[in-house]
């Protein structure tokens, strides 16, 4: 579709003026904004911004939660040929400085007082930020800073301008082409400054369309917009696809009311990272523990049925008559009410992405009849690269390439993508652009993976982390630390894992138990313990963890490519890995190199075949004091399995 977002909006407003475009819950009641209301609003905002001096090609910052008027602002900016740059609403002021300086931003439209305060702080370092416009006036009455104004006033002024110049808005919209830049998204770089990913109307609309075709989305969908709009995922689901399909985007009342709003709206198309689904499952389980014994028994019985029959039904496989009957009964008594309670009664398609999802979690939702699937993509690819078709959802793959996408696996295992949705480049960073986007048109994802026998893409790890086993029985086998770590972390008893094996003859891991889960497990067995360190070294706990490790090994053995990554030895660390001690990043990713240096005696002990090892470590307490923890740690062997060679 060679069109732009404002034109799509005008098309909906012309074809279905009274159909709902957005809903927002105000004072406890869902208020509907129709497509024609929206067009009117966008026109006013655009005229207001024009009067304030916003130029074609200029960047405009938008900061806030999902609010209809902020969406209208993005559309208004695009109508004028300006480029909206959404920033994360929870970013600290210091983090906003780089994007604002980098894109030479003069205008920002923000949600409320909190964001205004932040922008005023930013302005001390970015004096060019002259216009700060806010949506919600609460608490801002006494602010007298220069260049501060309410969106309300801007809309009123814009409305007057629009009446005087009725053709202005349409003419401006016509001036933009689909090859023009539509938006810019800053990705948080793990090192150095964030990079601005530039997307055109064409690339975003093409991908939105491909995704919509894949899942046969229509204008009848309902979506709840609750993730930050600065994240490309939210932007695609509640902005690009919203305008392409013309469905309804619902804005929750506040971040605290999302679960209530979800239940009220009952979206048909849903998207969440794994941790949100995990939170739902946990809350269901806790509530079931508190329920009466009859209800609890009923729940567990039917969940057993669901586990056996549900996924097969979901995948459209044939299921015996009796099973189908019992499942139907379960649906009536347990699954249906449960889906309703979670707000999933109407959901047709639910996606999860961003991180690996545990198979149990994935199966739980599919077994109760929620069509949860995975997808693969990133900011640079405008999300949609691979998607799982309805009947082929699996926890360990990310689906098949969708329309328009070409995938190639490079010699080093890196996944290369060619797609109409690729970024135009990184803003003012030709060097970084050249690194990922080569002249032959391939985008380098820096993810390592392969296409499995069913044609599904499977992601293993980041390319730079993938190593090789050297020497020993599995010489030269591929070693994917994160893949192994994730597999272990899917067990509720294991919280953190660090795996070693690159340039070594076997794979060894150090891990943290989940203190709550294992503590609970120990209590139920009358196993007394004094604290984390004590519990971690119990031989019963070692046996428990050993079972987990061996299950993972059995699983890995079935995978021809990764059979060499089976874990030979492991130990449970005496302290929890902590970001304050530099062992984890602030986003809770393990820092393998740092940990290997810090716990060198342990790593050596693992590889030298010792059965225990003494270690002393310095720890930093939350109040900044330091102390030391010492312990003698057991080291345990784990059974490995002979690889099951894939049938040729």
């Amino acid at each position: 579709m060679q069109t732009t977002f404002p034109r799509l909006m005008l098309k909906h407003a012309a074809e279905r003026p009274t159909a709902p475009a957005l809903r927002e819950k105000i004072y406890g009641i869902w208020q509907t904004i129709s497509w024609s209301d929206l067009a009117q609003l966008v026109q006013s905002v655009a005229c207001g911004l024009h009067q304030a001096g916003l130029q074609r090609g200029e960047h405009l910052i938008v900061v806030g939660a999902n609010r209809p008027r902020l969406y209208a602002t993005m559309l208004a900016a695009q109508s004028l040929g300006a480029i909206p740059v959404p920033l994360y609403q929870d970013a600290a002021a210091a983090e906003c400085v780089f994007p604002i300086t980098n894109a030479e931003v003069r205008f920002c439209v923000v949600e409320d007082q909190e964001q205004v305060d932040k922008m005023l702080e930013v302005r001390e370092q970015c004096p060019q930020l002259t216009h700060i416009i806010y949506d919600n006036p609460r608490g801002l009455r006494k602010y007298t800073e220069d260049g501060l104004g309410s969106l309300e006033e801007l809309i009123a002024a814009g409305g007057v301008f629009a009446q005087q110049h009725p053709q202005f808005f349409k003419e401006e919209v016509e001036k933009s082409a689909y090859t023009d830049v539509a938006a810019m998204f800053f990705t948080s770089g793990t090192t150095g400054n964030p990079k601005g990913v530039v997307h055109t109307h064409g690339s975003l609309i093409d991908r939105a369309n491909a995704g919509a075709e894949f899942d046969k989305l229509t204008s009848a969908e309902d979506v709840l917009a609750y993730m930050p709009p600065a994240w490309i995922g939210q932007n695609i689901f509640s902005y690009a696809q919203w305008l392409v399909c013309g469905y309804v985007v619902n804005c929750p009342e506040s971040s605290a009311t999302v679960t209530i709003d979800l239940k009220e709206i009952g979206p048909t198309y849903y998207f969440a990272p794994p941790r949100v689904f995990e939170g739902m499952l946990t809350s269901v389980m806790i509530r079931m523990e508190d329920a009466g014994s009859f209800k609890r028994k009923l729940f567990h019985y039917f969940m057993g049925v669901a586990k056996k029959v549900g996924p097969a039904l979901m995948d459209g496989q044939s299921v015996g008559f009796m099973d189908r009957l019992v499942y139907g009964l379960g649906n009536l008594m347990v699954f249906g009410p449960l889906r309703n309670n979670l707000g999933f009664s109407r959901v047709r398609v639910a996606y999860t992405a961003g991180e690996a999802i545990g198979p149990d979690l994935f199966t739980f939702f599919r077994s109760i009849g929620v069509n949860i699937k995975q997808l693969y993509g990133s900011t640079e690819t405008a999300v949609f690269v691979c998607l799982q078709p309805d009947n082929q959802a699996r926890a360990d793959t990310v689906g098949v390439p969708c329309k328009g996408v070409e995938i190639k696996v490079a010699d080093n295992g890196e996944i290369l993508v060619k797609s109409p949705g690729l970024l135009k480049g990184y803003y003012k960073n030709q060097q970084a652009t050249d690194e990922v986007l080569t002249a032959d048109g391939w985008y380098h994802t820096s993810d390592a993976g392969f296409i499995d026998s069913h044609g599904h893409l499977k992601i293993i790890d980041r390319v730079k982390d993938v190593g090789r086993i050297q020497g020993g029985a599995n010489d030269g086998a591929m070693f994917a630390p994160k893949y192994v770590e994730n597999k272990l972390k899917f067990f509720p008893f294991i919280k953190e894992v660090v795996a070693y094996g690159d340039q070594r003859e076997k794979v060894c891991v150090m891990l943290n138990i989940d203190f709550d889960a294992v503590g609970n497990w120990a209590e139920r067995r009358n196993l007394s313990y004094a604290g984390y360190t004590d519990l971690a070294q119990k031989s019963e706990v070692y046996q428990l963890i050993k079972d987990c490790v061996e299950k993972v090994n059995a699983d890995l053995a079935e995978d021809a490519l990764l059979a060499g990554s089976q874990v030979s030895r492991f130990l449970v660390l005496h302290k929890e890995l902590d970001a304050d001690d530099g062992e984890l990043t602030r986003t809770n990713k393990v820092r393998r190199g740092f940990i290997a240096d810090k716990y060198k005696p342990l790593v050596d002990g693992l590889y030298e075949g010792k059965t225990e090892q003494y270690i002393e470590t310095v720890v930093k307490f939350e109040d900044g004091r330091t102390g030391s923890v010492s312990a003698t740690l057991k080291i345990s062997d784990a059974k490995t399995f002979t690889p099951v060679k894939a049938a040729a």
Binding site: Y27, G28, R138, G139, K142, E253, S254, A256, T257
Partner: protein
């Protein structure tokens, strides 16, 4: 910051209150100006709550008078006080624990409901319109206090800090001219206190309410009030801006003690 502080709205003249032989308050006089935040502070047992109860009409002082918006009273009557536009919150939360947040706040609208019991029971005609209007006002308060997520939660299930907020919400529902807050921050942690301070200042700012508050936490009082009255053993020992009170010898000795 320019805040319009108006004329005296509430004037307390020479109030004395005794319970048998115990002198709870002795000859207390102070005034409250429109739109100001006025704090009453003092050590335990200083007579702060008794003072509030006199204004509120719960206690009848033996001596003295209270002038509210030009009208002079020897003693106040609770209902009359409410009708005149004085609302209060309670130190130990007198909420209806089994009722939802909405219903609790709705009770604060009681004085604004004119239709009779019969119409209300059947929810017909004017009663329904009235309820909708009042509910709308309550929704404004819920939005203002950021408790949307708990609309339908029974108050008893909420944490203490949120219950305090509901208590404030119910008082606000009366659309009071003067709001009496009895230790709004007691038993709260630092973050809850900061939230509460923000709400009090916002109420003062957005609703234009005059606020009289009792508080233990000196830091909080000094930050948010315009003028402070200090009581000790039922007597007034200080009155003025936070700065003046902070430097008042008598106040310092009441709080910190003096060496003799």
């Amino acid at each position: 910051m320019t805040k319009k502080i108006g004329d005296v709205i509430l004037d307390v003249n020479n109030i004395s209150l005794r319970f048998g032989g115990v002198k709870a308050l002795t000859d207390i006089s102070f005034n409250v100006r429109e739109h100001e935040v006025r704090a009453i502070i003092g050590p335990n047992g200083a007579g702060k709550s008794s003072m509030l109860n006199c204004i509120n009409g719960v206690y009848t002082p033996q001596e003295g008078s209270i002038t509210f918006r030009g009208q002079k009273f020897d003693h106040m009557n609770s209902r009359q006080v409410a009708e005149m536009g004085i609302a209060r919150t309670f130190q130990n939360l007198a909420l209806f624990k089994g009722m939802s947040v909405i219903d609790n706040i709705m009770t604060g609208r009681n004085l604004h409901i004119k239709s009779n019991l019969f119409l209300q029971a059947l929810r017909i005609g004017p009663a329904q319109r009235e309820e909708e209007k009042n509910r709308e006002f309550v929704e404004h308060i819920i939005d203002f206090l950021e408790i949307q997520a708990f609309r339908k939660t029974p108050v008893g299930q909420l944490p203490y800090g949120l219950q305090k907020r509901v208590d404030l919400g119910r008082a606000l529902a009366m659309e009071p001219k003067v709001l009496l807050l009895d230790e709004p921050m007691a038993g709260m942690n630092m973050e809850e206190k900061q939230d509460m301070c923000r709400f009090i200042l916002d109420v003062n700012d957005e609703f234009g309410s005059t606020i009289v508050l009792i508080e233990h936490d000196m830091g909080v009082v000094m930050d948010i009030s315009d003028r402070v009255v200090v009581l000790d053993y039922g007597k007034k020992i200080g009155d003025g801006t936070p700065e003046e009170v902070r430097n008042n010898e008598e106040v310092i000795s009441a709080y910190l003690g003096t060496s003799h």
